[in-house]
């Protein structure tokens, strides 16, 4: 299994997609931090937390990474070679889950580091102090990293189930941008807070979700459940389907 995980990591780093995603993620995190820092009072801890919380929103990038790890192989037909080398397909999917989740979390840790440095630099330059000992700041950072990891795992599941890269990316973006919102208008917040993106915002402590979202631990459990559900479906489906 370790060989397979090493192999998936080798595949990931020998293409450009993951590094482009990381660059996009870091750029978004930096830009995102600039918003609250230029609009909110710098003497309040909530400003720093709000700046860092953008790390959680870039879990969209982690979702794309997860999708890419599987559907990218179908897109370029390298999946044939992968299964020729490892005919036990469920092992391949498990290795992909491990690598995508770790990369999703790792990229988020890098993003969080960058975000904290930017925020600290901004506050220091303006003559304020960084609220390093604020518990909410670290809760947010931890939640954001977990949100990224969970979305990377869900991405692997979606990629394995859909297999078509363009459809998987467009479908999951439409879900996040559109479907959860429409469901919210029809069924109300009591329902939407249990959907993946809303659960993510609660896990990542996005300011908007703190009032009426799930508690952070509840959101973490729910999102882990979604990840396990998608991953199990991915393993089950992948074993059966033909690779044409």
């Amino acid at each position: 299994m370790l060989t397979l995980i090493g192999n998936e990591w080798l595949k990931l780093r020998t293409t450009r997609g993951p590094w482009i995603l990381l660059a996009v993620q870091l750029a978004l995190i930096t830009l995102g931090a600039a918003g609250p820092l230029s609009n909110m009072p710098l003497d309040q801890a909530a400003t720093a937390t709000g700046a860092v919380a953008h790390v959680g929103l870039t879990s969209l990038v982690a979702l794309m990474l997860g999708i890419l790890v599987v559907a990218g192989e179908y897109r370029h037909k390298t999946i044939t070679d992968t299964y020729l080398g490892t005919p036990r397909r469920s092992r391949v999917v498990v290795a992909k889950l491990a690598v995508a989740t770790t990369a999703g979390a790792g990229f988020a840790v890098l993003g969080a580091g960058l975000s904290l440095i930017v925020t600290w630099g901004w506050l220091t330059a303006a003559g304020h102090t960084m609220p390093w000992s604020d518990a909410e700041l670290w809760r947010t950072v931890a939640g954001d990293v977990a949100w990224n990891a969970a979305f990377a795992a869900i991405g692997v599941g979606i990629g394995a189930l859909v297999r078509n890269l363009a459809v998987a990316v467009a479908g999951s973006l439409a879900w996040l941008a559109l479907v959860e919102g429409i469901v919210g208008q029809v069924a109300g917040r009591d329902v939407t807070r249990y959907l993946p993106f809303s659960a993510g915002t609660a896990l990542g402590r996005l300011p908007a979700s703190i009032a009426d979202g799930l508690p952070q631990w509840g959101a973490a459990t729910l999102l882990a459940g979604y990840a396990v559900l998608f991953a199990s479906a991915a393993v089950a489906f992948t074993a059966r389907r033909d690779v044409a």
């Binding site: 060989t3 192999n7 595949k11 020998t14 044939t80 070679d81 299964y83 020729l84 005919p87 033909d242």
Partner: protein, 246 residues
């Protein structure tokens, strides 16, 4: 009697009402080059993919060295396969593609340089595959197949994209593998492509076996090779096609 490395028994694949492959039974002996022939859509690729565990059969089985592909302890060391020239990530370098395949099979990195040299891609190995010609991709595919120095070589339409020099090189490679007791099965829809290389031929048409034997037998039975091939692959229920053969 040569040993049998690939044995196909009652192999079928039906897609709804379409019988892509139907009740196929044949053996591929070691020490020979076996041509796997048939017109486009005859079920060749589906059959090869079933042999390699990529497509699940509706009925029957295909065994390689006595086992289903998925049960081979070291698949890359037992079987090398070239299935399609497009199976590469365009942004990945040729060498990295081979490193990944070697890594799964537990083969040393030195082996990557050896096969690159074997197929004449050493100079291009540091370039991204997106910039490769079709012939270079075929060579990279062959290099991947040769990595584990496998007993069995399975090639699906390997001649596509190869220039005449590449074809001659491939012929020599296949003959050499067979001469050292390996098994080679190579598919094609053009008989002339493999007439100089193959010892035996297995011919399929519309998913069914129509001929299985030494290439020489095909000769004596039906006059010219090309006539025999056409006769064996033509749908005689189709008057226009049947008239063309007569």
């Amino acid at each position: 009697m040569a040993s049998i490395d690939i044995s196909v028994r009652g192999l079928s694949k039906h897609f709804g009402p379409v019988r892509a492959v139907h009740d196929l039974t044949f053996d591929v002996p070691a020490g020979q080059v076996t041509g796997f022939l048939g017109p486009n859509g005859a079920g060749k690729t589906t059959t090869l993919r079933m042999m390699l565990g990529l497509v699940g059969p509706t009925a029957g089985q295909a065994l390689i060295c006595g086992r289903a592909y998925a049960d081979l302890p070291q698949p890359r060391r037992a079987v090398g396969a070239v299935l399609e020239a497009t199976g590469f990530h365009p942004a990945r370098r040729g060498r990295d593609h081979l490193r990944i395949a070697a890594h799964t099979a537990g083969l040393p990195t030195a082996r990557v340089e050896e096969v690159l040299d074997d197929v004449g891609l050493s100079d291009a190995a540091g370039r991204r595959v997106g910039g490769y010609s079709l012939g270079m991709r075929q060579r990279l595919g062959l290099a991947t197949a040769l990595l584990g120095d496998p007993q069995v070589l399975v090639l699906d339409e390997p001649a596509n994209g190869l220039d005449p020099a590449g074809m001659a090189w491939l012929r020599d490679l296949l003959r050499e593998r067979a001469a050292t007791g390996r098994t080679v099965i190579v598919s094609s829809h053009v008989l002339s492509e493999i007439a100089q290389t193959a010892d035996r031929v297995v011919i399929v048409a519309r998913g069914r076996l129509t001929f299985d034997g030494p290439l020489a037998d095909l000769h004596t039975r039906d006059g010219s090779l090309e006539d025999a091939f056409l006769r064996l692959t033509t749908d005689h229920d189709d008057p226009a096609a049947a008239a063309a053969v007569r």
